[in-house]
Amino acid sequence: MNLLQKRHVLQSFERAKATKARKHRDTLPTWCPGCGHFTPLQALYEAMEQQHIDSKDFVLVSGIGCSGRFPFFIKGFGLHALHGRAVPIATGVKLANPELEVVIVGGDGDGVGIGGGHFPHAARSNFDLTYLLLDNAIYGLTKGQTSPTSPMGMVSATSPYGNISKPLNASTMALTYGATFVARVFSQDRDECTRLIGEAMKHKGFSLVHVLSPCIEFHKTVTYESVQSEVAKLPSDYEPTDRVQALVLSESQDPIYTGLFLKEEGPTYHDRVNEIVKKFEEPVREEAIVV
């Protein structure tokens, strides 16, 4: 790393230091200088700060990928899991101890590629989890292969003649699966990142924050500039209450909308578990139940 690069890393990081969320003052993120993931990391720090989350009650479960390294850069408990398996592991953590604030971080390959079988069930069950899906439309950590969110035609070492599969859209998927909080944000929009991550954490139920977070090292076409030119905020009068409406807008590619698509209040999975478990605590009712 030359000095310039080092300076970039340090700068990104120094800014983050401003909050107390960071774990070790001497641990630098291992990402490439300028990586899209720096800003969401800072946004998470700030959201934690704003909500006065005690580090000891914070558990970050992550997948494998560049994004998966989050737990080592943050003050709290971390579980850097297997590729694609952060979601079920986080589910176990939360169900075992609902007092914990559980956040999942993972990449596009991790979440809708290898982990794509878990995402529907976490969403439909409305586990009280916040899922930051850092979508750079590429496999970063393994050095730049095509991912399930890569655009058609994208040339990479695994699609040397251009990608021939349509990309998936994580926000739309979450809406189809029944997630109760679905937002999309451009990683460089730091304030929006902070706000939406904060809202997601506050939301009771399964929340997806779909972060468009370019890989500056390997992606030649999905860049800060390209994303910047494609995104547009949801109309200011948009009300995030109608799932069908949300589905339609989340599908749009021109522009790619950012903002909060949907927020639905209702019982979480754990609320429903509690209802059942409570019945057994009340002695009068216990006899009524035939098992």
Partner: protein
């Protein structure tokens, strides 16, 4: 004729009430104070054309295995029952349906397959059912009447049981079934007279029954299980079904996951969050869990997996027994991946073993794979379990005040065990990972660190080895022939040893629930004390034998039973005699030289 043990087989297809027959007969036997072992044999199809059988072995003394052959066959459907006749012992008998009188029995095609030496009892099951219960559905109850009569068992306990089981359905139903039962008896009394007299137990106290899967679930619930996640798979599903019903009553929860990977993932998460957590599965599911087990090995998270073995490889034989998953349990992880492997041998050990599994998992921060099998998991046996209920039990090693001062999640200790702090507890923050890591938990790929952490992960197993209870040694200490086995085969082996002993050959057995680690010194001493070793197991390739060979340098006689049905004590007894014989010849040949 008098008999000590007796094995009865009901054979038919869906709609014949085979399962009910098994339940009624075994229930009544247990009520009489007889020892009981029941082995169901279902087809992998739901209904359609599937055949099913139930074997019930009863005895006034301990029943350890399904034995060899059957004493009575109740043939509820003809085609399915014909191939079963060959299993009947020379003094056994068959009960089958006949339209009207015994003379009319030729019509049915079954009698010509019954050899002359066997008792052959045609009973108009359908007619008597119709006459007494106004439907053909009570044919199995009629056959039960016939059977109880022919075995010389008293009627009262059967009728009481019928009454108890059916009381909810009203008096009329009860009476009709009792009538059907008695009709079966009187028909036999009228046309045939008694055939066999079963010995009655000295202690005629009624016995409770239990299956291996029930015992696993009960054991886990009693020792503090708080979270279970699973995915249905035969023959393990009943464990998760019991837990689904019972755990909420204790403030816990059973999560049905979308697949086995997610199930074990949720268990890993719950355990990371400090709760006793487990899953249950069978071969194909265990295969899917390979990567997640390894995650738990690397990040030292306690997990318990109850794996109920069925026939393999692949989807294999979902409703047939085999002991085929020892290899994958031991070696199914990529890299050097130590894990605890246990195998209970009966329902008592299903209960106590699963509790021990939790204690080990939590204390040593390791996956424990608990290898039950279909025979053990589904069979009904007498409940000899001593309940040990301790619902907030924990064997977790927490850091001392001092250790907390300078806390590292993976402190390298003499025992290999690092004290742990659970998320939510104050005083320490850390992250764990499936990557190699230093003591702090942060990723680290240095050669020295890797060496150190590998040694630490293996050292836990040495510590555990020292803490293990001694293996069981059974039989004649001075015998030349030693046996070793694992899992549900134990019963048949002990029975075989008894047979061989009666026939003049002594032998001894070493067996332990602990497959890995094992108290190696005890095993080595045992094998050193034998001239020859025999290892019988229910698989094709000798998986346990291979482990014993590699670990102890022995060259055993291997007996591979292909699975599908429980093993035969007779065959093992013959092998014991054969090996002893060879040994004798060998010795005398040496003497001549």
């Amino acid at each position: 004729m008098r008999k000590q043990h007796a094995t009865v087989r009901f054979c038919g297809i869906a709609g014949d009430g085979i399962v009910t027959s098994g339940k009624v007969f075994s229930g009544a036997a247990a009520d009489m104070g007889l020892d009981v072992l029941v082995n169901d044999n279902f087809s992998a199809e739901i209904r359609g054309l599937g055949k099913s059988t139930t074997d019930i072995r009863v005895s006034p003394t301990r029943v350890r295995s399904m034995g060899d052959g059957i004493d009575a066959l109740v043939a509820m459907s003809v085609g399915e029952s014909i191939p079963e006749i060959k299993d009947i012992k020379s003094d056994g008998f068959v009960i089958f349906d006949c339209e009207n009188t015994p003379e009319a029995r030729e019509e049915h095609g079954l009698p010509e397959h019954i050899p002359d030496n066997l008792g052959s009892f045609a009973v108009p099951l359908k007619r008597l059912s119709n006459e007494n219960a106004r439907s053909t559905i009570a044919r199995n109850i009629v056959s039960m009447g016939a059977l109880s009569y022919l075995l010389g068992l008293p009627p009262d306990i059967f009728t009481e049981l019928i009454e108890r089981k059916l009381s909810k359905k009203g008096d009329k139903v009860v009476q009709r079934n009792i009538d059907a039962f008695l009709a079966g008896r009187s028909y036999c009394d009228e046309h045939y007279g008694p055939h066999t007299t079963l010995d009655t137990p000295e202690d005629s106290e009624a016995k409770k029954l239990i299956t291996g899967n029930q015992a696993v679930a009960q054991g886990a619930l009693d020792c503090g299980l708080k979270f279970f996640a699973g995915y249905p798979i035969t023959p393990a599903t009943t464990i998760m079904e019991i837990v689904a019903r019972e755990l909420p009553k204790l403030g816990g929860w059973m999560l049905q996951a979308e697949d086995e990977i997610a199930a074990l993932g949720a268990v890993v998460g719950a355990s990371f969050a400090g709760k006793r957590a487990m899953t249950s599965t069978a071969g194909p599911g265990l295969a899917l869990m390979s990567e997640m087990i390894n995650m738990a090995v690397m990040s030292e998270i306690p997990i318990v997996i109850a794996n109920v073995q069925r026939g393999g490889p692949s989807t294999g034989l979902p409703t047939k027994v085999e002991q085929g998953d020892l290899n994958i349990a031991m070696y199914g992880g990529s890299g050097d991946s130590p894990r605890v492997v246990m195998a209970p041998t009966n329902a008592e050990e299903c209960y106590s073993g699963i509790q021990f599994a939790f204690d080990i998992a939590e204390r040593f921060q390791t996956p424990v794979i608990f290898l039950s099998d279909l025979f053990l998991g589904q069979r009904t046996e007498v409940d000899r379990i001593e309940r040990k209920i301790e619902r907030d039990r924990s064997t977790r090693v927490s850091p001392s005040e001092e250790e907390l001062g300078n806390y590292n999640r993976f402190t390298d200790t003499d025992t290999g065990i690092s004290p742990w702090v659970i998320p939510g507890e104050p005083g320490a923050l850390y992250s764990v990972t499936g990557l190699e890591h230093s003591e702090t938990g942060n990723p680290n790929f240095d050669a020295q660190v890797h060496l150190r952490m590998q040694e630490k992960r293996y050292r836990k197993f040495e510590t555990l080895q020292k803490e293990l209870p001694k293996p069981q040694i059974i039989g004649d200490e001075d015998a030349e022939i030693g046996l070793s086995c694992w899992g549900s085969v134990r019963g048949a082996v002990i029975e075989a040893m008894e047979i061989a002993r009666e026939e003049g050959v002594k032998s001894k057995l070493i067996v332990s629930m602990m497959i890995n680690p094992q108290r190696e010194e005890d095993f080595r001493a045992f094998f050193d004390s034998c001239s020859e070793v025999i290892i019988p197991e229910m698989n094709h390739s000798g998986q346990y034998a291979a482990l014993m060979k590699s670990r102890y340098g022995i060259r055993p006689h291997e007996m591979h039973f292909p699975g599908v049905t429980p093993v035969s004590p007779r065959k093992i007894a013959d092998k014991i005699k054969e090996v002893q014989n060879e040994l004798a010849t060998e010795t005398s040949r040496l003497a001549i030289v």
